[in-house]
Amino acid sequence: MKGKIETLNKMLSDGEISVFELTEEYIKRIKEKDENINSFITVCVDTARENAKCADELFRKGKAGHLTGIPMSLKDNLSTKGILTTAGSKMLSRYVPFYDAFAYECLKNEGSVFLGKNNMDEFGMGASNDTSFYGDVLNPLDAKRSPGGSSGGSGAALSAGMAVYSIASDTGGSIRLPASYTGTVGLCPTYGAVSRRGLIAHSSLLDRVGVMTTTVSDVAAVFDCINRHDEKDMTSVKGIRKRTAESLENGIKGMKIGIVPGVFEKAHEETKKCFVKALEVFSMLGASVSEVEIPLWEKADSVYSIISTSDAASNLTRYDSVRFGGGTDDTISGERDGFGDEARMRILLGNAVLTSEEHTGLRKKAESEMILIKESFQRAFSEFDLLLTPAAYHTAPLKEEISEKLTDEFLTAPSVAHLPALSMPMGFSENGLPLGLQIIGRAMGEDAILRAAYAFEDAKKDEIYIKGGESIGF
């Protein structure tokens, strides 16, 4: 299925519309819609217009690439030189970085148009976008429901047609859950595939920078641009990267797909039915689908909690309320009270993990377990090309149901195993809300994930995306 980027690129190349006009349309949408949705913390109208003029110039000179002139946004934990970067926290409400995040640098060089910074759970800590100092983000598909988190601002902006793509981060499902709840597509790449330079750290052992869009080919186009080695990030993987866009149309005939029965059976009945139908589509497209055991899957949640809280406690010590104090004088008092309740709780728990004598080694045990989980997946991937699960138990929960229905249990295992995983729509619930599918691949195997996602999207395009919404078409 043709992506939005390809469609827009053709319109821009043919002169049907200028980048400036396109940019104005997106600025207008943000002005009209975002007052209610609250998906942006900062809107950069002047920067967007300047970028648009430069991009138009590139088209005139015949030097435009496929991302030139495409309006995009960044989650607000990615550094932007000279532009406020808050990570959703009061603690950083006056923080203006002096350099750009690596991923943004790549996209800037391509001539994309930067619209602004998306709202998010504070420091990426949350799954329902209700821990931001800048207020809750609403789901554009149903304002009473959560958009998921922590990249809920990115998901909501894309779903409401306020950006073509967004760069976000995923620690334990922060790209994939909002993608599932807002009917968008989100890729959490392999740990080390995309440089984290300029990403405000939450958990260094788990954080990844990824892509959110509204179609699979758009993910491939953006991912190929930011998937490169960065010598300034010690966790950046070296070696040649595969261009995923080139193999998108190769099909999935002969691919071996594994499902983990003990895992997907936990999903809501409606989700399970939709998932089984999706599996039938993959079979029909020529893949073989069979069961596989990942015995340590259920331990991933505990490992995630221990690792992420203790990492957060260490990473957030730098915010001492002197250099990074909050927005008002009363927070610059040497008391680190610029943190919200959730961030504070995670710092306290993390410090408890790191200092507890009674449970010395809790962190070490979690790291050992992490290696075992990786091995578990590695064994599965010696037989299978991909693993599939639903992305969430349910559709987006109502705000009052969050504590009961919101879970990222399907998402933390690939996070802990450092594997790439994508969430995309697989169908709708009876009440018309999107249900997400998760496709997990081998380390650095994003090409196989995107090939399968593209084939599935192509087969089901009329049944998985919101009809008449601005998330489709331009």
């Binding site: 052992l205 505990s302 909690s305 306290l348």
Partner: protein
Amino acid sequence: MYTYEELLRLSGFKAREGEKQRFIEKWEELKCAKLSEGGKDERETVLRNDEISPSVKMSEVLKNAKAEKDGFIIVSEAYYEGEN
């Protein structure tokens, strides 16, 4: 184990209403996390039972004292090399 009050001091925070109780509940949950008993023995058992070859490289790395000493990043790189 540090008390809530000690952890507050360590973290540079003032107490907030209702937080102590929430912290105690969450910490109970976290310290009772369902982890394997951990340690080398269990890891070796898993590998011994494994008849599939790709894990071998990983097990070699894990047995390598340098990797154990230098930490996770080295293990992580070897993992990718094994995959590619």
